[in-house]
Protein backbone atom coordinates (compact mmCIF):
# COMPACT_ATOMS: atom_id res chain seq x y z
CA UNK A 1 0.00 0.00 0.00
CA UNK A 2 1.35 3.38 -0.97
CA UNK A 3 2.51 5.57 1.91
CA UNK A 4 0.78 8.87 1.56
CA UNK A 5 -0.16 11.65 3.94
CA UNK A 6 0.26 15.29 4.87
CA UNK A 7 2.62 17.68 6.58
CA UNK A 8 1.12 18.80 9.88
CA UNK A 9 2.26 22.33 9.02
CA UNK A 10 0.14 22.36 5.88
CA UNK A 11 -2.94 21.00 7.65
CA UNK A 12 -2.79 23.35 10.65
CA UNK A 13 0.11 25.76 10.81
CA UNK A 14 1.62 25.85 14.29
CA UNK A 15 -0.89 23.39 15.74
CA UNK A 16 0.40 19.84 15.27
CA UNK A 17 -2.13 18.34 17.72
CA UNK A 18 -5.07 19.65 15.71
CA UNK A 19 -3.41 18.56 12.48
CA UNK A 20 -3.08 15.00 13.81
CA UNK A 21 -6.74 15.00 14.88
CA UNK A 22 -7.74 15.98 11.35
CA UNK A 23 -5.42 13.42 9.75
CA UNK A 24 -6.75 10.62 11.97
CA UNK A 25 -10.11 11.04 10.28
CA UNK A 26 -8.52 10.84 6.82
CA UNK A 27 -6.93 7.46 7.61
CA UNK A 28 -3.65 8.37 5.93
CA UNK A 29 -0.60 6.21 6.69
CA UNK A 30 2.18 8.80 6.36
CA UNK A 31 2.84 12.06 8.15
CA UNK A 32 5.50 14.71 8.37
CA UNK A 33 5.71 16.35 11.78
CA UNK A 34 6.56 19.95 11.06
CA UNK A 35 8.70 22.20 13.22
CA UNK A 36 9.35 24.51 10.30
CA UNK A 37 9.31 27.53 12.59
CA UNK A 38 11.88 27.42 15.36
CA UNK A 39 9.30 28.15 18.05
CA UNK A 40 7.45 24.95 17.13
CA UNK A 41 10.45 22.72 17.89
CA UNK A 42 10.43 22.31 21.67
CA UNK A 43 6.65 21.85 22.04
CA UNK A 44 6.73 19.18 19.32
CA UNK A 45 9.77 17.38 20.75
CA UNK A 46 8.26 17.41 24.24
CA UNK A 47 4.98 15.97 22.98
CA UNK A 48 6.39 13.21 20.77
CA UNK A 49 5.87 10.31 23.21
CA UNK A 50 2.23 11.23 23.73
CA UNK A 51 1.19 11.87 20.15
CA UNK A 52 -1.23 9.47 18.44
CA UNK A 53 1.11 8.17 15.74
CA UNK A 54 0.23 4.46 15.59
CA UNK A 55 -1.72 4.79 12.34
CA UNK A 56 1.40 5.89 10.47
CA UNK A 57 3.78 3.45 8.81
CA UNK A 58 5.94 6.37 7.68
CA UNK A 59 6.90 9.39 9.79
CA UNK A 60 9.25 12.23 8.88
CA UNK A 61 10.32 15.23 10.93
CA UNK A 62 10.79 18.69 9.42
CA UNK A 63 13.70 20.58 10.97
CA UNK A 64 13.27 24.35 11.52
CA UNK A 65 14.04 26.30 8.36
CA UNK A 66 15.50 29.24 10.27
CA UNK A 67 17.64 29.35 13.38
CA UNK A 68 20.60 31.31 14.66
CA UNK A 69 24.23 30.26 14.60
CA UNK A 70 24.19 30.32 18.41
CA UNK A 71 21.27 27.92 18.61
CA UNK A 72 22.68 25.53 16.01
CA UNK A 73 24.68 23.19 18.33
CA UNK A 74 21.74 22.82 20.70
CA UNK A 75 19.38 22.16 17.78
CA UNK A 76 21.63 19.38 16.47
CA UNK A 77 21.72 17.83 19.94
CA UNK A 78 17.93 17.93 20.23
CA UNK A 79 17.52 16.18 16.86
CA UNK A 80 19.59 13.11 17.76
CA UNK A 81 16.66 11.35 19.45
CA UNK A 82 14.70 11.77 16.20
CA UNK A 83 17.50 10.11 14.29
CA UNK A 84 17.45 7.25 16.80
CA UNK A 85 13.74 6.75 16.05
CA UNK A 86 14.74 6.17 12.44
CA UNK A 87 12.74 9.11 11.13
CA UNK A 88 14.21 11.16 8.31
CA UNK A 89 15.06 14.75 9.20
CA UNK A 90 13.75 16.98 6.42
CA UNK A 91 16.27 19.78 6.10
CA UNK A 92 16.58 23.02 4.14
CA UNK A 93 20.22 23.06 2.99
CA UNK A 94 20.50 26.85 3.26
CA UNK A 95 19.59 26.82 6.96
CA UNK A 96 22.92 25.42 8.18
CA UNK A 97 25.67 27.72 9.48
CA UNK A 98 28.35 25.18 10.44
CA UNK A 99 28.00 22.19 8.19
CA UNK A 100 30.44 20.15 10.29
CA UNK A 101 28.01 20.37 13.19
CA UNK A 102 25.44 18.39 11.17
CA UNK A 103 27.76 15.55 10.14
CA UNK A 104 26.72 13.46 13.16
CA UNK A 105 23.15 13.47 11.79
CA UNK A 106 24.22 12.95 8.20
CA UNK A 107 22.57 9.59 7.56
CA UNK A 108 19.23 10.88 8.84
CA UNK A 109 19.35 14.19 6.99
CA UNK A 110 16.99 14.34 4.05
CA UNK A 111 17.76 17.54 2.12
CA UNK A 112 14.89 19.19 0.34
CA UNK A 113 15.32 20.79 -3.08
CA UNK A 114 14.49 24.45 -2.69
CA UNK A 115 12.23 27.11 -4.21
CA UNK A 116 13.53 30.09 -6.17
CA UNK A 117 13.99 32.33 -3.11
CA UNK A 118 16.77 30.21 -1.71
CA UNK A 119 20.43 30.65 -2.67
CA UNK A 120 21.19 26.94 -2.98
CA UNK A 121 19.64 23.49 -3.32
CA UNK A 122 17.41 24.54 -6.22
CA UNK A 123 18.88 22.75 -9.20
CA UNK A 124 20.52 19.42 -9.94
CA UNK A 125 23.91 21.11 -9.94
CA UNK A 126 23.36 22.80 -6.57
CA UNK A 127 22.03 19.58 -5.03
CA UNK A 128 25.07 17.67 -6.33
CA UNK A 129 27.31 20.02 -4.37
CA UNK A 130 25.36 19.42 -1.17
CA UNK A 131 25.46 15.65 -1.56
CA UNK A 132 29.17 15.96 -2.28
CA UNK A 133 29.50 17.07 1.33
CA UNK A 134 26.82 14.81 2.79
CA UNK A 135 27.36 11.57 0.94
CA UNK A 136 25.09 9.37 3.04
CA UNK A 137 22.21 11.89 3.22
CA UNK A 138 19.03 11.52 1.21
CA UNK A 139 16.75 13.76 -0.87
CA UNK A 140 13.24 14.95 -0.13
CA UNK A 141 12.15 15.67 -3.69
CA UNK A 142 9.75 18.59 -3.66
CA UNK A 143 7.82 18.49 -6.92
CA UNK A 144 6.26 21.92 -6.32
CA UNK A 145 9.64 23.56 -5.82
CA UNK A 146 11.08 21.78 -8.87
CA UNK A 147 8.13 22.97 -10.96
CA UNK A 148 8.52 26.54 -9.72
CA UNK A 149 12.21 26.51 -10.69
CA UNK A 150 11.47 25.16 -14.15
CA UNK A 151 7.87 24.87 -15.36
CA UNK A 152 8.94 22.53 -18.18
CA UNK A 153 10.11 20.01 -15.50
CA UNK A 154 13.39 19.52 -17.37
CA UNK A 155 15.34 20.38 -14.19
CA UNK A 156 13.18 17.94 -12.24
CA UNK A 157 14.08 15.18 -14.74
CA UNK A 158 17.74 16.03 -14.30
CA UNK A 159 17.45 15.86 -10.51
CA UNK A 160 15.84 12.43 -10.79
CA UNK A 161 18.52 11.24 -13.20
CA UNK A 162 21.30 12.32 -10.86
CA UNK A 163 19.81 11.61 -7.45
CA UNK A 164 17.23 8.88 -7.99
CA UNK A 165 18.78 6.49 -5.49
CA UNK A 166 18.84 9.18 -2.81
CA UNK A 167 15.17 10.08 -2.99
CA UNK A 168 13.61 9.08 0.32
CA UNK A 169 10.29 10.92 0.17
CA UNK A 170 8.25 13.22 -2.04
CA UNK A 171 6.77 16.61 -1.23
CA UNK A 172 3.89 17.57 -3.46
CA UNK A 173 1.83 20.76 -3.86
CA UNK A 174 1.62 23.66 -6.29
CA UNK A 175 4.03 26.49 -5.51
CA UNK A 176 3.15 29.96 -6.73
CA UNK A 177 5.48 32.85 -7.55
CA UNK A 178 5.29 34.01 -3.93
CA UNK A 179 6.57 30.52 -3.00
CA UNK A 180 3.35 29.66 -1.21
CA UNK A 181 2.21 26.05 -1.22
CA UNK A 182 -1.27 25.98 -2.71
CA UNK A 183 -3.76 23.45 -4.10
CA UNK A 184 -2.61 21.45 -7.11
CA UNK A 185 -4.20 22.80 -10.31
CA UNK A 186 -4.63 21.11 -13.66
CA UNK A 187 -1.45 22.85 -14.88
CA UNK A 188 0.66 21.31 -12.11
CA UNK A 189 -1.00 17.95 -12.61
CA UNK A 190 0.11 18.04 -16.24
CA UNK A 191 3.63 19.03 -15.18
CA UNK A 192 3.92 16.35 -12.49
CA UNK A 193 2.59 13.70 -14.87
CA UNK A 194 5.79 14.11 -16.88
CA UNK A 195 7.99 12.79 -14.10
CA UNK A 196 6.00 10.71 -11.60
CA UNK A 197 6.65 7.64 -13.73
CA UNK A 198 10.35 7.98 -12.93
CA UNK A 199 9.76 7.93 -9.19
CA UNK A 200 9.55 4.61 -7.37
CA UNK A 201 5.92 3.62 -6.76
CA UNK A 202 6.70 2.75 -3.13
CA UNK A 203 8.08 6.21 -2.37
CA UNK A 204 6.34 7.96 0.60
CA UNK A 205 4.42 11.05 -0.44
CA UNK A 206 3.82 14.05 1.81
CA UNK A 207 1.24 16.57 0.61
CA UNK A 208 2.05 20.19 1.43
CA UNK A 209 -0.86 21.94 -0.28
CA UNK A 210 -2.38 24.46 2.09
CA UNK A 211 -6.10 23.97 1.60
CA UNK A 212 -9.16 24.26 3.80
CA UNK A 213 -9.90 21.24 5.99
CA UNK A 214 -12.89 20.19 3.91
CA UNK A 215 -10.66 20.14 0.81
CA UNK A 216 -8.00 17.82 2.26
CA UNK A 217 -9.73 14.64 1.08
CA UNK A 218 -10.09 16.07 -2.43
CA UNK A 219 -6.38 16.93 -2.49
CA UNK A 220 -5.48 13.48 -1.16
CA UNK A 221 -7.63 11.82 -3.82
CA UNK A 222 -6.03 13.90 -6.55
CA UNK A 223 -2.47 13.07 -5.45
CA UNK A 224 -3.40 9.40 -5.17
CA UNK A 225 -4.71 9.53 -8.74
CA UNK A 226 -1.58 11.27 -10.03
CA UNK A 227 0.59 8.50 -8.59
CA UNK A 228 -1.91 5.72 -9.30
CA UNK A 229 -1.07 6.08 -12.97
CA UNK A 230 2.52 5.27 -12.06
CA UNK A 231 1.49 2.15 -10.17
CA UNK A 232 -0.72 1.12 -13.06
CA UNK A 233 2.22 1.43 -15.43
CA UNK A 234 4.39 -0.67 -13.10
CA UNK A 235 1.73 -3.37 -12.86
CA UNK A 236 1.30 -3.41 -16.62
CA UNK A 237 5.06 -3.73 -17.11
CA UNK A 238 5.22 -6.63 -14.63
Amino acid sequence: MRKIGFSTGAVAMGDFRHALEVLAKLHVNAVELSALRFGELDPLLNALDDLPLTQYSYIAFHVPAKFTAESEPDLVRKLHPIKERGWPLIMHPDAMFDRRAWKSLSSALCFENMDKRKPLGRTAEELARIFGEFEDSSLCFDLGHASQIDRTMAEACLIIQQQKTRIRQIHISEVNTKSEHVAISAASELAFAKIVGDIGYDMPIIIESVVKEHQLLQELTLVTEIFANTLQEVLETD
Binding site: Q148, R151, T152, E174, V175, N176, T177, E180, V182, A183, I184, S185, A186, A187, S188, E189, L190, A191, L222
Partner: protein, 364 residues
Protein backbone atom coordinates in the same frame (compact mmCIF):
# COMPACT_ATOMS: atom_id res chain seq x y z
CA UNK B 1 -28.55 69.37 -6.34
CA UNK B 2 -25.60 67.89 -4.54
CA UNK B 3 -22.28 69.65 -4.70
CA UNK B 4 -18.89 68.07 -4.22
CA UNK B 5 -19.10 65.39 -1.58
CA UNK B 6 -16.46 65.46 1.08
CA UNK B 7 -15.81 61.78 1.05
CA UNK B 8 -16.56 58.83 -1.14
CA UNK B 9 -19.48 56.72 0.05
CA UNK B 10 -20.15 54.36 -2.82
CA UNK B 11 -22.64 51.66 -2.10
CA UNK B 12 -22.67 48.45 -4.10
CA UNK B 13 -26.46 48.66 -3.98
CA UNK B 14 -26.57 52.08 -5.63
CA UNK B 15 -29.17 50.75 -8.09
CA UNK B 16 -31.43 49.62 -5.26
CA UNK B 17 -30.92 52.97 -3.54
CA UNK B 18 -31.90 54.84 -6.68
CA UNK B 19 -34.85 52.53 -7.21
CA UNK B 20 -36.06 53.23 -3.66
CA UNK B 21 -35.55 56.95 -4.02
CA UNK B 22 -37.54 57.13 -7.26
CA UNK B 23 -40.14 54.55 -6.24
CA UNK B 24 -39.47 52.70 -9.48
CA UNK B 25 -38.47 49.12 -10.12
CA UNK B 26 -36.53 47.88 -13.11
CA UNK B 27 -37.44 44.21 -13.44
CA UNK B 28 -35.21 43.43 -16.42
CA UNK B 29 -32.15 44.88 -14.68
CA UNK B 30 -32.92 42.87 -11.53
CA UNK B 31 -33.50 39.69 -13.53
CA UNK B 32 -30.27 40.14 -15.47
CA UNK B 33 -28.30 40.66 -12.25
CA UNK B 34 -29.81 37.54 -10.69
CA UNK B 35 -29.14 35.50 -13.84
CA UNK B 36 -25.54 36.73 -13.91
CA UNK B 37 -25.02 35.66 -10.29
CA UNK B 38 -26.30 32.17 -11.15
CA UNK B 39 -23.99 31.91 -14.17
CA UNK B 40 -20.98 33.09 -12.16
CA UNK B 41 -21.70 30.39 -9.57
CA UNK B 42 -21.99 27.79 -12.33
CA UNK B 43 -18.69 28.83 -13.91
CA UNK B 44 -16.98 28.89 -10.53
CA UNK B 45 -18.11 25.30 -9.93
CA UNK B 46 -16.80 24.16 -13.31
CA UNK B 47 -13.44 25.77 -12.65
CA UNK B 48 -13.17 24.39 -9.11
CA UNK B 49 -14.30 20.88 -10.03
CA UNK B 50 -11.59 20.60 -12.68
CA UNK B 51 -8.93 22.72 -10.90
CA UNK B 52 -8.64 25.03 -13.87
CA UNK B 53 -7.15 28.06 -12.12
CA UNK B 54 -3.39 27.52 -11.70
CA UNK B 55 -1.57 29.64 -9.15
CA UNK B 56 -0.75 33.19 -10.28
CA UNK B 57 -3.66 33.17 -12.70
CA UNK B 58 -7.26 34.36 -12.57
CA UNK B 59 -10.16 33.52 -14.82
CA UNK B 60 -11.54 36.91 -15.79
CA UNK B 61 -14.89 37.39 -17.47
CA UNK B 62 -15.87 40.50 -19.40
CA UNK B 63 -18.98 41.75 -21.22
CA UNK B 64 -22.52 41.17 -20.05
CA UNK B 65 -21.53 38.68 -17.35
CA UNK B 66 -19.08 41.13 -15.78
CA UNK B 67 -21.68 43.91 -16.04
CA UNK B 68 -24.17 41.53 -14.35
CA UNK B 69 -26.46 41.92 -17.35
CA UNK B 70 -26.88 38.28 -18.32
CA UNK B 71 -29.69 37.82 -20.82
CA UNK B 72 -30.83 35.27 -23.37
CA UNK B 73 -28.03 34.49 -25.79
CA UNK B 74 -25.30 36.19 -23.76
CA UNK B 75 -21.89 34.72 -24.39
CA UNK B 76 -18.99 34.33 -21.97
CA UNK B 77 -16.04 36.52 -22.87
CA UNK B 78 -13.23 35.16 -20.72
CA UNK B 79 -9.48 35.12 -20.49
CA UNK B 80 -7.00 33.26 -18.32
CA UNK B 81 -5.01 36.18 -16.91
CA UNK B 82 -1.45 35.25 -15.98
CA UNK B 83 0.58 37.26 -13.52
CA UNK B 84 3.55 35.05 -12.86
CA UNK B 85 5.89 32.60 -14.49
CA UNK B 86 5.16 31.57 -18.06
CA UNK B 87 4.12 27.93 -18.06
CA UNK B 88 3.71 25.77 -21.18
CA UNK B 89 0.72 24.10 -19.49
CA UNK B 90 -1.25 27.35 -19.28
CA UNK B 91 -2.36 26.96 -22.89
CA UNK B 92 -3.60 23.42 -22.21
CA UNK B 93 -5.52 24.72 -19.21
CA UNK B 94 -7.06 27.49 -21.33
CA UNK B 95 -8.07 24.92 -23.94
CA UNK B 96 -9.59 22.76 -21.23
CA UNK B 97 -11.55 25.75 -19.93
CA UNK B 98 -12.94 26.32 -23.44
CA UNK B 99 -13.90 22.63 -23.69
CA UNK B 100 -15.59 22.58 -20.30
CA UNK B 101 -17.56 25.74 -21.10
CA UNK B 102 -18.65 24.20 -24.38
CA UNK B 103 -19.82 21.05 -22.59
CA UNK B 104 -21.74 23.26 -20.15
CA UNK B 105 -23.41 24.93 -23.17
CA UNK B 106 -21.90 28.31 -22.39
CA UNK B 107 -21.53 30.34 -25.56
CA UNK B 108 -17.91 31.23 -26.20
CA UNK B 109 -16.36 34.57 -27.19
CA UNK B 110 -16.67 36.19 -30.60
CA UNK B 111 -14.33 35.71 -33.55
CA UNK B 112 -11.82 38.47 -32.79
CA UNK B 113 -9.76 36.20 -30.47
CA UNK B 114 -9.53 39.03 -27.96
CA UNK B 115 -10.98 36.61 -25.44
CA UNK B 116 -11.07 32.86 -24.96
CA UNK B 117 -7.37 32.34 -24.31
CA UNK B 118 -4.38 33.65 -22.40
CA UNK B 119 -3.51 37.22 -21.45
CA UNK B 120 -0.32 38.27 -19.72
CA UNK B 121 0.02 40.97 -17.11
CA UNK B 122 3.24 42.31 -18.62
CA UNK B 123 1.59 43.60 -21.79
CA UNK B 124 -1.38 45.05 -19.93
CA UNK B 125 0.78 46.95 -17.48
CA UNK B 126 3.70 48.03 -19.66
CA UNK B 127 2.21 48.53 -23.11
CA UNK B 128 -0.01 51.55 -22.57
CA UNK B 129 0.15 53.61 -25.74
CA UNK B 130 2.84 53.37 -28.39
CA UNK B 131 3.38 50.87 -31.18
CA UNK B 132 3.10 47.79 -28.98
CA UNK B 133 -0.29 48.72 -27.56
CA UNK B 134 -2.36 46.80 -30.05
CA UNK B 135 -6.09 47.11 -30.42
CA UNK B 136 -6.44 43.79 -28.59
CA UNK B 137 -4.21 44.89 -25.74
CA UNK B 138 -6.06 48.19 -25.34
CA UNK B 139 -9.38 46.38 -25.35
CA UNK B 140 -8.28 43.91 -22.70
CA UNK B 141 -6.78 46.61 -20.50
CA UNK B 142 -9.68 49.06 -20.62
CA UNK B 143 -12.30 46.36 -20.25
CA UNK B 144 -10.35 45.05 -17.27
CA UNK B 145 -10.99 48.43 -15.69
CA UNK B 146 -14.51 49.05 -16.94
CA UNK B 147 -16.28 45.69 -17.06
CA UNK B 148 -14.45 42.70 -15.66
CA UNK B 149 -14.90 40.15 -12.90
CA UNK B 150 -12.60 37.44 -11.57
CA UNK B 151 -14.38 34.14 -11.10
CA UNK B 152 -12.74 32.06 -8.38
CA UNK B 153 -9.35 33.15 -7.13
CA UNK B 154 -8.85 36.87 -7.73
CA UNK B 155 -5.24 37.21 -6.55
CA UNK B 156 -3.67 37.67 -9.99
CA UNK B 157 -6.60 39.82 -11.16
CA UNK B 158 -6.33 42.15 -8.15
CA UNK B 159 -2.59 42.54 -8.61
CA UNK B 160 -2.92 43.37 -12.31
CA UNK B 161 -5.75 45.89 -11.76
CA UNK B 162 -3.70 47.61 -9.09
CA UNK B 163 -0.60 47.73 -11.29
CA UNK B 164 -2.48 49.04 -14.34
CA UNK B 165 -4.14 51.80 -12.30
CA UNK B 166 -0.81 52.58 -10.70
CA UNK B 167 0.69 53.05 -14.17
CA UNK B 168 -1.98 55.57 -15.09
CA UNK B 169 -1.59 57.54 -11.85
CA UNK B 170 2.17 57.29 -11.53
CA UNK B 171 2.72 58.54 -15.08
CA UNK B 172 0.50 61.59 -14.54
CA UNK B 173 2.68 64.51 -13.49
CA UNK B 174 0.53 65.36 -10.51
CA UNK B 175 -2.59 63.95 -8.96
CA UNK B 176 -3.30 66.96 -6.72
CA UNK B 177 -4.65 70.39 -7.67
CA UNK B 178 -2.31 73.39 -7.33
CA UNK B 179 -3.90 74.30 -4.01
CA UNK B 180 -3.37 70.76 -2.82
CA UNK B 181 -6.99 70.68 -1.67
CA UNK B 182 -8.41 68.51 -4.43
CA UNK B 183 -7.48 65.42 -6.34
CA UNK B 184 -7.35 66.07 -10.04
CA UNK B 185 -9.11 64.01 -12.67
CA UNK B 186 -6.56 61.35 -13.70
CA UNK B 187 -6.06 62.57 -17.23
CA UNK B 188 -3.90 59.72 -18.52
CA UNK B 189 -6.52 57.16 -17.52
CA UNK B 190 -9.36 59.35 -18.77
CA UNK B 191 -7.72 59.83 -22.17
CA UNK B 192 -7.24 56.09 -22.56
CA UNK B 193 -10.90 55.46 -21.73
CA UNK B 194 -11.99 58.13 -24.21
CA UNK B 195 -9.64 56.66 -26.82
CA UNK B 196 -11.13 53.22 -26.26
CA UNK B 197 -14.68 54.51 -26.69
CA UNK B 198 -13.74 56.14 -30.01
CA UNK B 199 -11.88 52.97 -31.02
CA UNK B 200 -15.02 50.93 -30.38
CA UNK B 201 -17.00 53.29 -32.60
CA UNK B 202 -14.43 53.12 -35.39
CA UNK B 203 -14.10 49.32 -35.10
CA UNK B 204 -17.86 49.04 -35.31
CA UNK B 205 -17.69 50.57 -38.78
CA UNK B 206 -14.71 48.40 -39.72
CA UNK B 207 -16.43 45.18 -38.61
CA UNK B 208 -19.53 46.18 -40.53
CA UNK B 209 -17.42 46.40 -43.67
CA UNK B 210 -15.31 43.31 -43.07
CA UNK B 211 -18.21 41.08 -42.06
CA UNK B 212 -20.58 42.41 -44.69
CA UNK B 213 -23.06 43.75 -42.19
CA UNK B 214 -23.37 40.55 -40.15
CA UNK B 215 -25.40 41.16 -36.94
CA UNK B 216 -25.37 44.87 -37.74
CA UNK B 217 -28.51 45.79 -35.84
CA UNK B 218 -27.51 43.94 -32.69
CA UNK B 219 -24.05 45.51 -32.72
CA UNK B 220 -25.59 48.91 -33.31
CA UNK B 221 -27.92 48.49 -30.36
CA UNK B 222 -25.07 47.43 -28.11
CA UNK B 223 -22.95 50.38 -29.20
CA UNK B 224 -25.80 52.79 -28.47
CA UNK B 225 -26.49 51.31 -25.03
CA UNK B 226 -24.15 48.87 -23.29
CA UNK B 227 -20.96 50.22 -24.88
CA UNK B 228 -22.02 53.81 -24.23
CA UNK B 229 -22.84 52.80 -20.66
CA UNK B 230 -19.31 51.59 -19.96
CA UNK B 231 -17.89 54.79 -21.47
CA UNK B 232 -20.12 56.85 -19.19
CA UNK B 233 -19.08 54.73 -16.20
CA UNK B 234 -15.42 55.20 -17.15
CA UNK B 235 -15.78 58.97 -17.29
CA UNK B 236 -17.56 58.98 -13.93
CA UNK B 237 -14.84 56.81 -12.40
CA UNK B 238 -12.28 59.44 -13.40
CA UNK B 239 -14.44 62.45 -12.51
CA UNK B 240 -15.20 60.96 -9.09
CA UNK B 241 -11.53 61.33 -8.13
CA UNK B 242 -12.30 65.06 -8.04
CA UNK B 243 -16.00 65.08 -7.24
CA UNK B 244 -16.00 62.42 -4.56
CA UNK B 245 -12.42 62.25 -3.34
CA UNK B 246 -11.05 59.72 -0.88
CA UNK B 247 -11.41 60.63 2.77
CA UNK B 248 -8.70 62.49 4.62
CA UNK B 249 -7.55 65.13 2.19
CA UNK B 250 -9.33 68.05 3.82
CA UNK B 251 -8.25 67.06 7.30
CA UNK B 252 -4.60 67.12 6.27
CA UNK B 253 -4.40 70.39 4.39
CA UNK B 254 -0.90 71.07 5.66
CA UNK B 255 0.24 67.50 5.39
CA UNK B 256 -0.43 66.70 1.77
CA UNK B 257 -0.30 63.07 0.73
CA UNK B 258 2.87 62.43 -1.20
CA UNK B 259 1.76 58.98 -2.21
CA UNK B 260 -0.97 58.07 -4.61
CA UNK B 261 -2.23 55.15 -2.51
CA UNK B 262 -5.53 56.81 -1.38
CA UNK B 263 -6.40 57.62 -4.98
CA UNK B 264 -5.40 54.15 -6.11
CA UNK B 265 -7.63 52.60 -3.47
CA UNK B 266 -10.41 54.96 -4.50
CA UNK B 267 -10.20 53.90 -8.15
CA UNK B 268 -10.08 50.23 -7.22
CA UNK B 269 -13.34 50.68 -5.33
CA UNK B 270 -15.00 51.89 -8.52
CA UNK B 271 -13.44 49.16 -10.64
CA UNK B 272 -15.20 46.61 -8.42
CA UNK B 273 -18.58 48.15 -9.23
CA UNK B 274 -20.54 47.40 -12.37
CA UNK B 275 -21.05 50.22 -14.92
CA UNK B 276 -24.74 50.44 -14.00
CA UNK B 277 -23.85 50.72 -10.31
CA UNK B 278 -21.40 53.53 -11.08
CA UNK B 279 -24.01 55.42 -13.11
CA UNK B 280 -26.63 54.80 -10.41
CA UNK B 281 -24.19 56.08 -7.81
CA UNK B 282 -23.71 59.27 -9.84
CA UNK B 283 -27.44 59.56 -10.47
CA UNK B 284 -28.08 59.32 -6.71
CA UNK B 285 -25.79 62.29 -6.14
CA UNK B 286 -25.96 64.45 -9.23
CA UNK B 287 -29.03 63.71 -11.39
CA UNK B 288 -32.55 65.07 -11.33
CA UNK B 289 -35.21 62.34 -10.88
CA UNK B 290 -36.43 62.62 -14.47
CA UNK B 291 -32.85 62.16 -15.72
CA UNK B 292 -32.35 59.04 -13.64
CA UNK B 293 -35.67 57.66 -14.86
CA UNK B 294 -34.74 58.29 -18.48
CA UNK B 295 -31.46 56.44 -18.14
CA UNK B 296 -32.65 53.48 -16.11
CA UNK B 297 -36.04 53.04 -17.74
CA UNK B 298 -34.33 52.97 -21.14
CA UNK B 299 -31.69 50.53 -20.01
CA UNK B 300 -34.28 48.29 -18.39
CA UNK B 301 -36.23 48.18 -21.65
CA UNK B 302 -33.04 47.41 -23.56
CA UNK B 303 -32.21 44.45 -21.29
CA UNK B 304 -35.80 43.26 -21.55
CA UNK B 305 -35.47 43.22 -25.34
CA UNK B 306 -32.08 41.48 -25.17
CA UNK B 307 -33.64 38.78 -23.00
CA UNK B 308 -36.33 38.10 -25.58
CA UNK B 309 -35.10 35.33 -27.87
CA UNK B 310 -37.25 36.38 -30.81
CA UNK B 311 -36.18 40.01 -30.57
CA UNK B 312 -32.55 39.09 -30.30
CA UNK B 313 -32.74 36.71 -33.25
CA UNK B 314 -34.52 39.40 -35.25
CA UNK B 315 -31.80 41.95 -34.48
CA UNK B 316 -29.09 39.43 -35.35
CA UNK B 317 -30.58 38.81 -38.79
CA UNK B 318 -31.47 42.37 -39.82
CA UNK B 319 -29.31 44.14 -42.38
CA UNK B 320 -28.56 47.84 -42.19
CA UNK B 321 -30.92 48.50 -45.12
CA UNK B 322 -33.83 46.69 -43.49
CA UNK B 323 -33.47 48.49 -40.19
CA UNK B 324 -35.10 51.75 -41.10
CA UNK B 325 -38.50 50.18 -41.53
CA UNK B 326 -38.19 47.47 -38.90
CA UNK B 327 -40.39 48.00 -35.82
CA UNK B 328 -38.07 46.04 -33.52
CA UNK B 329 -35.04 48.05 -34.50
CA UNK B 330 -36.99 51.30 -34.34
CA UNK B 331 -37.96 50.44 -30.78
CA UNK B 332 -34.32 49.88 -29.86
CA UNK B 333 -33.39 53.14 -31.54
CA UNK B 334 -36.06 55.00 -29.58
CA UNK B 335 -34.81 53.44 -26.33
CA UNK B 336 -31.24 54.38 -27.18
CA UNK B 337 -32.30 57.98 -27.84
CA UNK B 338 -33.94 58.14 -24.42
CA UNK B 339 -30.76 56.73 -22.89
CA UNK B 340 -28.61 59.23 -24.76
CA UNK B 341 -30.83 62.07 -23.64
CA UNK B 342 -30.60 60.94 -20.02
CA UNK B 343 -26.82 60.55 -20.13
CA UNK B 344 -26.45 63.98 -21.76
CA UNK B 345 -28.54 65.59 -19.03
CA UNK B 346 -26.55 63.80 -16.31
CA UNK B 347 -23.20 64.92 -17.69
CA UNK B 348 -24.09 68.37 -19.03
CA UNK B 349 -27.24 69.77 -17.45
CA UNK B 350 -28.18 68.61 -13.98
CA UNK B 351 -25.12 69.38 -11.86
CA UNK B 352 -22.77 72.30 -12.63
CA UNK B 353 -19.63 70.61 -11.32
CA UNK B 354 -20.14 67.51 -13.42
CA UNK B 355 -20.99 69.66 -16.39
CA UNK B 356 -17.81 71.67 -15.89
CA UNK B 357 -15.68 68.54 -15.78
CA UNK B 358 -17.37 67.12 -18.86
CA UNK B 359 -16.67 70.30 -20.82
CA UNK B 360 -13.12 70.52 -19.56
CA UNK B 361 -12.06 66.89 -19.91
CA UNK B 362 -14.62 65.26 -22.18
CA UNK B 363 -14.34 67.38 -25.28
CA UNK B 364 -10.96 69.09 -25.79
Amino acid sequence: MATILKTMTVSTSAIEELSGKLGKEWPAISAARAAAATEVDRIESILADHRLIPSDTSLVVFGSLARREWTFGSDVDWTLLIDGQADPNHLKVAQEIANRFLQARLRGPGPTATFGGLAFSHDLIHQIGGEEDTNRNTTRRILLILESLAVGSSDAYDRVIKSVLNRYLDDDLSFLSRSGQHYKVPRFLLNDIVRYWRTMCVDYATKHRERQGEKWALKNAKLRLSRKLIFAAGLLTCFNCHLRPPAGLDENLFDLPAHLEPLLRHLRTYVKLTPLEIVADAANSFAKPETSLKIFDAYDQFLSMMNDGEVRTRLESLTARECRSDPVFNKVRHISEQFQDGVTRLFLDDEPKLSELTRKYGVF
